[in-house]
């Protein structure tokens, strides 16, 4: 992967041109996914205040007792969107994947996965947390990695 940076003072924002031999290659898609996340922000609430949160900072989104929460490395934010709405908005090619009935995981925060006896898997996250990937969602999780 070769990275060239050109300064152009005419531009008002960052412009990225991706040159590659094959647009559909897995590493190109991974890069695009990362750029999507880098570019995206969402609104989360904490102590009655609204905060702008970058998608790349979210570790996972969890639904608990009909409320949905955004989990970051060291903070948790409320959200007014239901989990299935988050799933519709996020899980299309930007690294977020449904791993159980209650959790959507940001695969960019994933360190490794480990299968358990019984078909469920454990996802090890960058912040040391573990999340269970339900057996029912394992195959769609695998597709995210073209495996």
């Amino acid at each position: 992967l070769e990275i060239k940076i050109e300064e152009d003072h005419v531009l008002t924002d960052i412009e990225i041109t991706l040159r590659c031999p094959d647009e559909s290659a897995a590493n190109v898609r991974t890069l695009l996914r990362m750029l999507d996340i880098f570019n995206g922000t969402v609104i989360g609430y904490k102590d009655g205040k609204a905060y702008k949160i970058s998608l790349r900072d979210i570790f996972y989104i969890e639904s608990v007792d009909n409320k949905t929460f955004l989990y970051l490395a060291d903070a948790v934010y409320d959200t007014d969107k239901r989990l299935h709405t988050w799933e519709k908005d996020l899980t299309d090619n930007n690294g977020f994947v449904r791993i159980s009935k209650a959790v959507i995981l940001n695969t960019a925060k994933l360190i490794s996965v480990e299968p358990m006896l019984g078909g469920r898997w454990i996802a090890h996250l960058e912040n040391g947390e573990k999340q269970v990937i339900n057996r029912h969602y394992v195959t769609s999780f695998r597709k995210n990695f073209d495996v």
């Binding site: 890069l31 239901r82 299935h84 209650a102 006896l117 019984g118």
Partner: protein, 149 residues
């Protein structure tokens, strides 16, 4: 898949079900045929009908086990126990009770239980090995993607 529109058998579940069914049917057929050859007086017959009935029983058991994925998270720890109960229901209930593979006598029930446990764990271990290989590939992908983070 949404929270409300919960599918009991999507494509992924079908694939998992077919793989587990193939493994368990093969293991059960090989095991009962081997025991039939080694101990000719053994209760299980090896007629064509028996192998069709066996396929029916393994299919029902695997269908039940695959549907266990929808159990509430609080019951996860009992998943293996549910699997064994479902296998026992298939072999002893359907095989012994409905298809009359063996009489419901203690000796036969013990023999059938040993076979069903062996088939259950063979299927379980092969599925686990397959998952370990897939996990290894995913972990490789994650390592390669790390410089991009």
């Amino acid at each position: 898949m949404s929270e409300r529109g919960f599918h009991y058998m999507d494509n992924n579940t079908w694939k998992e079900f077919l793989l587990a069914d193939c493994i368990s049917y093969t293991a059960a057929a090989v095991l009962t045929a081997s025991i039939g050859i080694l101990i000719p007086a053994y209760m299980f017959g090896s007629s064509h009908q028996y192998y069709l009935e066996l396929f029916f029983v393994t299919t029902i058991i695997n269908l039940l086990i695959v549907l266990d994925a929808h159990l509430p998270a609080s019951l996860c720890r009992f998943e293996m126990l549910f699997g064994i109960i479902e296998t026992a229901f298939g072999v002893i209930g359907i095989g012994g009770g409905f298809f009359h593979w063996f009489a419901w006598q203690p000796l036969y029930l013990i023999e059938a239980s040993v076979i069903l446990l062996m088939v259950y764990f063979v299927t379980y271990i092969i599925m686990y090995w397959q998952n370990r290989e897939i996990a290894r590939k995913i972990n490789e992908c994650l390592k390669k993607a790390k410089p991009l983070r």
